[in-house]
Symmetry: C2
Subunit: 212 residues, 2 copies
Amino acid sequence: MISDTDLESAVLAHQTDDHRIDAAHDLGHLRRVWANCRRIALDEPGADLEVLRVAAFLHDLVNLPKDAPNRAEASRLSAEAAVIWLRQAGFPEAKLPAVAHAIAAHSFSAAIPPETLEARILQDADRLEALGAIGLARLFVVAGQIGTALFDDHDPMALHRPLDDRRFALDHLEVKLFPVAQAMQTHAGRQMAEERAEWMGSFRSRLLREIG
Amino acid sequence: MISDTDLESAVLAHQTDDHRIDAAHDLGHLRRVWANCRRIALDEPGADLEVLRVAAFLHDLVNLPKDAPNRAEASRLSAEAAVIWLRQAGFPEAKLPAVAHAIAAHSFSAAIPPETLEARILQDADRLEALGAIGLARLFVVAGQIGTALFDDHDPMALHRPLDDRRFALDHLEVKLFPVAQAMQTHAGRQMAEERAEWMGSFRSRLLREIG
């Protein structure tokens, strides 16, 4: 039996100088994605929790920077690395394809449709981490890491310019986060995403009031 | 007459490799501090708006990193640099001491008691930028810049450990932001700070709910 601690050790062992755990992709993120998987799975009879657990902990095994040219490959590379590690750790061979598909399909940029219940649950569980208070905290941490401005001081709502979330963190709500909340795969995931997206809208209204 | 644009140009001209404008201390921050000064001054008859305006735009002229050893000196150095620049720009000599005191006293770490109305207003105006939705966004951006974790995954509320905001961004609420909101200098500043601090508390409650 592979424990959560074994999985976390595998993640830490995969860190290199080019691929380090950061505040938005630390072990806490992995634990919360796994917790989200469990919450969603309560509502989805038949989900294989063992597949979900290892997929949740290993889904970011290869975590490329947001601006890396091969960023869209990260989830496929994570799936391959996870299969190699799980095989040597004695994980049931028959379940490896399900783990690999769930990991490969979790990522937005990979654009791989999730074809299994576990893949749908993992995708929703990971996307919930981009929404709500936790999503906002992670959004601004990443902005600090890569040097994006908080918002366009002259036009924060992008009323008179194209949206540009590479320059302005707040634009990421319209460019990606609100659409993601509308494209959830499971019933429970959709409910949680809607509530979190609504809160993010209220955060934005408040921010706009404060900055006048 | 020194325009806002002149003041912003002076700020940009003071950037060096060791002292660059970042997302938490950009021109937008300066404009918002000046806007906060005007809001507070409406409630404080007798404030010298010309002193306030140049002090607001030049208060971070020397902006040392959070972890610089001489960080506590930054506001004094900003005051000196501001006086030099304002003198050559033809700002009234008689008002320079008031500008210098307001800038030197604005900073938390300098621990200089504000002795004039303008110094009290500027201190409150700058501290409001650390509170509310804008304060939260700036908190997490700085966390991303300096590599602080979002929160302690095992004990986010620090129930069983000492608070440590050098390791955990969320700890900064208890260590500094809630106390700052209790130590405002003006009536209007105190009211705005209390409302923003209360909202930050509700953000924290929500975050704790989401992360389970």
